[in-house]
Symmetry: C2
Subunit: 438 residues, 2 copies
């Protein structure tokens, strides 16, 4: 018989040691990142949850067979050492091995950046994510998500959790995974669209962080078949610019949080944080025209925006306005789903937007139809049967405020922020056409 009271042992962190006093006794744990015998003394680099620390060990305290990726507990004294990374080291007094690997790492984690091709790296991900540079990407990613939640909670949003097994796709098209659900046909959610709109009728402002599934067949450096969506939806908007302002506020907040609390990772990855104080908005047709004029190419399709064009518009925003971000507004109606609100001034276009970050789409959003009759009419115009989406249309039928929202692709945001050249590097265990493991 025993009682617990929630008193957790909180080990000393890298930050506490780095910023704490010198000549303090500390006990730390971590993995042996690098072990080097310097004749008489051993230098051991300990990989902690965040950061690596140089430890100097006399031979007599080194357990037999100590090797890299052993996990250890180590006690010693912190002292200044200008030649060590961080300007300090631990003079170890005792060292206990907690566990030993069965085989050495397939590649070195301590000799600079990994030099593996994409396939090789992703196959070894469970092990090579331990590399300080690799894991730094996902620490930064954590910051982007923390900022999303904290900012929106402060703005009066409620977090929701909506089903990923659904009876109908929100985005239409063929890029949807099918599932046998106890003998019935079901799908994996392409977005939380219907549900987040539903929850605007309940909480006015909601957000969700969760997986999104797209059965895209093309293999590109910017597509994943499963990604993490940062979704928000808000009621009582005056126009879709309220949604754009909310995203801008989030981006500012996120960059401030990263600068304040994720400096070690940003430095390691050599990330330059983008400014988000003042983001230009260009209409879709203007953006296409301005970029084509400036960079001297012909517009192929006035109703579509290809990846190359996104890159040109991003370059335009950078050169003309000094901005890494640019909102492209008023997308053509035929490129947007049935729930998008058309622009009453020109119904060929919608009250919607994408956000481009360093030349790549990272967000899609806009105002939604809230009026029942108009929503039904638009579905019928498109040859859809409203009866198939009765439970979604229930919200329009019983009254919805004017509302809009957006979905951010977390991995793309991370990719562009960290300067990665393939979105797969921004997912811990990416899913693509040929990759289901690890």
């Amino acid at each position: 018989m025993k009682f617990v009271t929630g008193e957790s042992r909180k080990p000393a962190t890298y930050q506490e040691i780095a910023e704490g006093g010198r000549n303090n006794s500390v006990t730390v744990h971590g993995a042996v990142h690098l072990l080097r015998d310097m004749g008489g003394l051993a230098f051991l680099i300990l990989r902690m949850a965040r950061g690596t620390v140089q430890c100097v060990c006399a031979p007599e305290i080194l357990p037999e067979g100590l090797c890299e990726e052993c996990t250890v507990e180590l006690s010693g004294t912190v002292r200044d050492e200008v030649r060590a990374p961080g300007g300090f080291e631990i003079a170890a007094e005792s060292l206990t091995v907690l566990s030993r690997p069965a085989a050495p790492m397939p590649v070195s984690l301590s000799k600079g950046p990994l030099k593996l091709n994409l396939d090789a790296e992703l196959a070894l991900r469970p092990a090579v994510l331990r590399h300080p540079r690799e894991r730094a990407v996902f620490k930064v990613q954590e910051g982007l998500v923390r900022a999303f939640r904290d900012y929106l909670t402060g703005e009066g949003f409620t977090e929701v959790h909506t089903p990923k097994i659904v009876h109908a796709g929100a985005e239409g098209g063929s890029n949807i995974f099918k599932l046998n659900y106890f003998g019935k046909k079901a799908y994996l959610a392409q977005s939380p669209q219907f549900y987040k709109q539903t929850m605007v009728g309940v909480f006015e402002r909601v957000f969700e962080v969760g997986p999104v599934f797209r059965a895209e067949k093309h293999a590109t450096p910017r597509h994943l078949n499963e990604y993490t969506g940062l979704d928000l939806e808000m009621g009582y908007i005056g126009s879709f610019y309220d949604v754009i302002e909310m995203e801008t506020g989030y981006l500012r907040y996120a960059m401030e949080l990263l600068a304040r609390e994720y400096a070690p990772e940003l430095e390691l990855l050599e990330v330059e944080l983008p400014g988000a104080d003042r983001i230009p908005c260009l209409r879709f047709d203007d953006a296409k025209r301005l970029a084509a004029e400036k960079y001297g190419y012909r517009i192929r399709d006035p109703y579509d925006l290809e990846p190359e064009e996104e890159a040109h518009i991003g370059q335009y925003a950078k050169e003309e306005f000094g901005s890494d971000f640019v909102f492209v507004t008023h997308y053509p109606s035929k490129k947007r789903p049935f729930y998008a609100m058309d622009d009453p001034e020109d119904p060929r276009y919608t009250l919607s937007f994408d956000l481009l970050f360093r030349g790549m789409e990272v967000t899609t959003g806009g105002q939604r139809l809230h009026d029942y009759a108009r929503q039904v009419a638009k579905m019928e115009d498109r040859g859809m049967d409203p009866a198939g989406l009765e439970s979604y249309l229930m919200i329009h039928k019983h009254g919805m405020p004017p509302h809009g929202g957006l979905g951010i692709g977390l991995e793309r945001l991370t990719m562009k922020l960290c300067g990665l050249d393939n979105v797969r590097y921004a997912a811990l265990f990416p899913r693509d056409r040929s990759r289901l493991e690890p």
Copy 2:
């Protein structure tokens, strides 16, 4: 051409009005929750994002055809009114309709608790979640998730996002959904088990909040086929009691956060918050024996714990120790998955636990095998082929610290906290054998 700067319009909230000064002019928005003509004056109850406010309107400011579930913007003066809920009301000076419903609500949202049976209520969920009591459950649920993240972030955990489409199930058995993934066989993740363990090798302490899929065929008041898992995994533990202490710390923190910031919802739902300062831990075999002795029944299966027995053990903990929570430790090895660490003192049992809350399992956790040879041996003992889980075993092969973790079922925790009699009421849009919509 336009620039945005992230300046969001933040509407006045219910709390600001309730706690703000009297005789202030305010502009608010919301849905018309109830409209009552009192002969000469109209009383309008406005449903805001949180809370409902009585507004008094002279007939001349009432737009024609105003009805319940219209959404409106309303300006007026706040004044004391003892007869109004909250002790104040708004004397409306102007009222603008923002949207109108196409049909009245199927049931009243303003006449006390919904009196619908389960099927009827769930079919109408998109509309009836607007009921103040219904939505209060999910506001409380938000608090449980916020507390999980905030507490663990403070304890040095990193949040991760791991794939839900997987090549192998973590829990074994037949309760797994199958999927055709570009011609390959894939599954929906039964838990983030393999991935969160993997991430312990990277960040030492990690957590994830995400969907979990179980193709359970039985229809019970405590099972869902898709639920939200609150998962954590931590390295460098001294024993599985470190995991138990972490959960206890979380529960304390969560109850404090709820008491501090969710009082209106707790009051509406008449929730009594459980104490979590001191939680008893009973061994599985002791717990079974003590409850059977006290309540006078025979133990049917010494290696299993049925729902009725969980209820008895919960009652025992309440009566003997005054605790709504009880940890049941040392589950039989044959009831635990292949990655569970057996108790070296008696390998028929494992170093694992469940948490029972008011007589129902809401958490499963324990210490995991970290040694490669032992993990492979246990798989072989169970007739499993280690080659099928090579990418998972990579982490053991290349070294893992002693570690353990747990998974909490968010809906069950919400259900028992809010005193609901079916877990479906604790999911916005529950998934069960027969329910795929809404």
